[in-house]
């Protein structure tokens, strides 16, 4: 992991951890008749650290809570409980101008490049808006910056008078990236930033994100369901299942030495573009599908689908904590970690 170089203007701190998620919960109460005070437990007690300059990959299947967690981290949603310390400040307690100042340091790139750009604004206006909001530079400097941003992400600077519909999906995603970079953030959350794109275009965006990280010492939270993309882009990976982090490890340890049976199954499910490997590979097929986050299973919430669970027994009764297992810097929440 490279030590993050400080960009001018940010305070020098010794803390290598940029973001700490501490025991965070997010419950969405169910509305309507017969819901009886039940909640969707989208994020159900998550601890997570993101270090300066690293790319943390967050993976899991739909409904595991990864996108909700991203919205909590960027203060787009209030937490139900817990704290999120970004650069030494608990953002769950920030309001008004302080929160706005914090937002300049964290930006988000969204999945759908069609829905995340205002169709009535020109590209120039879209990129100008964050600069205006944070009163960055003079009018002339802003105009110039917009042009540099467009060049940076590989678009023609003269396109600033065009509207989003005039661009392809990949180009729009570049605009979304330029918008995120406009205010010189130190931390960017990419929520499924390439999953809506065609393969050849996705590769362009993945390469661009890597180049930008190196060039600007960015810290990334990279959320995706495509584990191959995550392995390629991340330094460390966290796996979520039904509102909880079940394993974290370095990007190669998680793949070569996974400790949690869910991680193992998830990885073995992904086909590899190599027919010879495919003939040898036997995916671990899980029983059934993800249970409802309204009423998660008792004990370890993976136990009804787990191939090695002792249930009834410890797995259906006691919730396993996230503890060190396997390699250095690797943690798993399983009573029988490493035994699958």
């Amino acid at each position: 992991m490279q030590a993050a170089e400080k960009t001018p203007g940010t305070a020098i701190k010794a803390d290598p951890v940029l973001l700490r998620v501490q025991n965070v919960y997010k419950y969405f109460p169910l509305q309507g008749f017969g819901s009886g005070g039940l909640s969707v437990r989208a994020v159900d007690g998550v601890d997570l650290e993101i270090r300066r300059g690293e790319a943390l990959g967050l993976v899991g299947e739909s409904g595991c809570g990864k996108s909700t967690l991203a919205r909590l981290i960027t203060a787009l949603l209030p937490v139900t409980a817990g704290s999120i310390i970004f650069d030494g400040q608990d953002i769950t307690k920030l309001r008004g101008a302080k929160l706005r100042r914090m937002r300049r340091k964290m930006q988000m790139i969204f999945q759908d490049p069609f829905a995340s750009l205002d169709p009535r604004m020109t590209v120039g206006d879209i990129l100008m808006e964050p600069l205006d909001n944070f009163k960055i530079g003079s009018g002339r400097e802003r105009t110039q910056r917009v042009q540099e941003l467009l060049r940076l992400v590989g678009l023609n600077p003269n396109f600033n008078n065009r509207y989003p519909h005039e661009f392809s999906g990949g180009q729009r995603q570049r605009i979304g990236i330029a918008r995120a970079l406009a205010v010189n953030p130190s931390f960017i959350v990419c929520d499924e930033a390439v999953s809506a794109l065609d393969v050849s275009i996705a590769a362009q965006i993945i390469n661009l994100l890597q180049d930008l990280q190196r060039e600007f010492n960015l810290t990334y939270l990279f959320i995706a369901h495509d584990l191959a993309v995550v392995r390629h882009l991340s330094d460390r990976v966290a796996v979520m299942y039904l509102g909880k982090v079940v394993e974290t490890a370095g990007r190669n340890d998680i793949y070569d030495n996974s400790q949690h049976p869910y991680t193992k199954a998830l990885l073995s499910s992904i086909p590899v573009p190599d027919p010879e490997v495919e003939r040898q590979r036997a995916p671990i097929l899980l029983k059934g599908e993800i249970p409802s986050p309204v009423n998660p299973p008792s004990g370890c919430r993976f136990h009804p689908r787990c191939p090695i669970a002792r249930a009834p027994g410890i797995c259906s009764e006691v919730e396993p904590p996230l503890e060190p297992h396997g390699a250095v810097d690797q943690e798993a929440a399983c009573h029988f970690a490493g035994q699958a």
Binding site: F134, G137, L149, Q210, L285, E289
Partner: protein, 356 residues
């Protein structure tokens, strides 16, 4: 040599839009043998789905098959009358789609929909069809099939819905099942279950399969042969092992190197194909891929290469071919595209501060 089930000969399907003619499928010749699995890969807009819809004569307006032949077991599908085509669809060739929610009727029970697919044809009597529904759901491994036949589609999860769709597709025992991105909308662990099911069904029932996808890994996992399409044309074709080991068309080569592999540590940058897929209203002259090709030569810009044999059973449409490309040119194709000069200017501290 297996029997040839389906043969497309110089198929052309065009869309007559207000802005001009879109050549969505532009001279496609391919065949599917009985019992085999053929992958058709390419990016959005390459014509893979329209090829499949053409086979069933389901091309939406303003599209039309303008020329070419579609021979299924000796019969030309393009010349069938309405009765014949109705019998052909479902009975001989069935199709399953990406999104199992929108392709099922939300207000009728799943069991009835499968039954209906059978009674629409003459192969099974109504009584026989009723009895077969549970058997079919069991075959696609829907748990508790006896009770789930009475469920509505919304009571099924995504994976179960796709299983029910496959059951419907197989209900009339077609010789060929066309699957258009059957796992794209599903979660990874569910995707693995469906892939496994499709493999088993292909083995157990001997149903030939045409898998339409953008995912090369899925092709490696499921198919014996693969056809790569670009801008309405086949650019490469051959046995899966051969194509993955030694792709000869630069487009196939780039596609294989533009996706990271989950079983490999990061070594290299991904190969990204520069630019965008061509506008089919106004395709480039010469080779359709030449504006994006890293290994382009002058001839590519003027004259379109034919689909020629490059190895045993392997065809490619290219003047250059990957085996003739030098290593340094391959390395250059992976280099950074970032405008470093723009990056430098942006890093300079911009005056002003938040909230002031």
């Amino acid at each position: 040599m297996a029997e040839t089930l389906l043969q497309l000969e110089d198929l052309r399907t065009q869309f007559f839009t207000g802005r001009g003619v879109v050549r969505a499928v532009d001279g496609v010749t391919l065949h599917v043998d009985a019992g085999e699995t053929l992958g058709v890969v390419g990016e959005s807009g390459c014509g893979k789905t329209i090829t499949a819809l053409s086979i069933l004569r389901l091309v939406p307006e303003p599209g039309r098959i303008v020329s070419g032949r579609i021979i299924f077991r000796g019969q030309d599908v393009t010349k069938m009358d309405d009765d014949e085509i109705r019998q052909f669809r479902g009975n001989d060739v069935a199709m399953i789609f990406q999104d199992p929610m929108t392709s099922m009727n939300p207000v009728t029970k799943v069991g009835f929909q499968i039954e209906e697919a059978m009674t629409a044809h003459e192969r099974f009597t109504e009584r026989l069809a009723k009895g077969r529904v549970i058997e079919l759901l069991k075959k696609v491994r829907v748990p508790a099939a006896e009770s789930r036949v009475k469920d509505y589609p919304h009571q099924f999860s995504g994976g179960m819905r796709q299983r029910a769709m496959i059951a419907m597709g197989l209900s009339n025992e077609p010789a060929l099942l066309i699957a258009d991105e059957p796992t794209t909308a599903l979660d990874v662990t569910v995707q693995a279950q469906i892939i496994q099911l499709m493999k088993q069904l292909n083995r157990e029932l001997g149903t030939a399969m045409m898998l339409i996808t953008h995912n090369m890994a899925l092709v490696a996992s499921l198919c014996q042969r693969v056809v790569v399409m670009y801008a309405g044309r086949i650019v490469e074709e051959g046995p899966v092992d051969q194509i993955f080991r030694s792709p000869q068309h630069p487009y196939t080569w780039s596609l294989l190197r533009s996706v990271p592999r989950v079983d490999e540590a990061r070594k290299d940058r991904l190969v990204s194909i520069r630019g965008l897929p061509p506008d089919l209203l106004n395709p480039p002259p010469g080779c359709k891929f030449h504006p994006r090709c890293p290994f382009v030569v002058d001839r590519c810009k003027i004259e379109e290469p034919p689909l020629g044999e490059v190895a045993a059973e392997q065809l490619a449409r290219c003047w250059v071919l990957m085996r003739n490309v030098k290593d340094e040119d391959v390395a250059a194709a992976k280099s950074s595209a970032l405008s470093l000069d723009a990056a430098k200017k942006l890093k300079a501290p911009a005056g002003g501060d938040a909230g002031r």
